[in-house]
Symmetry: C2
Subunit: 144 residues, 2 copies
DNA sequence: CTACTTGCAAACTTTTTGCTTGCGA
DNA sequence: TCGCAAGCAAAAAGTTTGCAAGTAG
């Protein structure tokens, strides 16, 4: 992918006093350039080659920073570590219960349902998350 | 709440060779009788009074058992430990981003959307989870 | 130059596991 | 009695924190 979106995001960060370091750039650009929804550890191993001395703490620090800046989303499931999604456009997720793969499901947000939930519960809702669980195509074939 | 639903659930368990112990019964009946979506530790502290010697491992073992039997659902969020829901009827959740409270939002399942996701992603979907994030009524008032 | 960041290691939290004793059926 | 379950403690896994040294702006 082009570096444009990454540079734009980094620019946004820098305007609020955040510094640009090679590690930070690498983490963000890896996340924004993949649809694999990696764990912190997967990011760590991916970047290890280029940053042999990088520590996991740096990964976590930056993921937290990106999350707070709204550049990245954290996805958690019961039986595993958090996964991170550098795609913040509208979409939901399908999770394979067999191989844990996460696949994007692009779909317009359920705004009507948010309003419904507001009415029913009295909450002021500002976001929602929808995950589907099932078996991916690859794992379906392996069953044969 | 009445113990009927609990007894029914326990009966279902027992028919598959699972024994009824006082701890097991207490954990399940507490979960089925609350809408507070407690963590394992909260369950532990709640039952501590009646079972001073109970260990956390017992809580976890039983929660796992209940989950596998479909009597209980596990809810996970990024920044905290798992929460457990003894209500397995159709509903979604609203999570307060301020006080972390979880409130049920009864709503018929989005079966149409499951089919849509199947078509788009090639998954065979068998369930989904929908969470709304926002501010609950109590926390809205505290802001004033 | 001076904070912000990194790297490192230790600490912490949550959950799981191994093993012995206890107890439900 | 027999085998599942509880209790206990230690281990595992993921994430956070404190601090010294490095570096971006």
């Amino acid at each position: 992918m082009s570096t444009e979106r990454v540079d734009l995001a980094i620019g946004k960060l820098r305007s609020s006093g955040v510094r640009l370091t090679p590690q930070r750039y690498a983490i963000l650009s890896f996340l924004m350039g993949t649809t694999s929804h990696p764990t912190a550890d997967e990011i760590y191993r991916e970047l290890e080659e280029n940053f042999p001395n990088m520590s996991v703490a740096t990964i976590y620090n930056n993921l937290k920073l990106f999350k707070e800046a709204g550049l990245v989303r954290e996805l958690t499931f019961g039986d595993a570590s958090s996964r991170f999604d550098g795609n913040t456009t509208d979409h939901y997720h399908c999770i394979c219960v067999s191989c844990q793969r996460i696949v994007d499901f692009p779909y317009p947000p359920l705004s009507g349902l948010e309003q419904e939930a507001q009415k029913t519960t009295g909450f002021v809702i500002d976001s929602h998350r929808l995950d589907f669980f099932g078996v991916c195509e690859t794992c379906q074939q392996e069953k044969n």
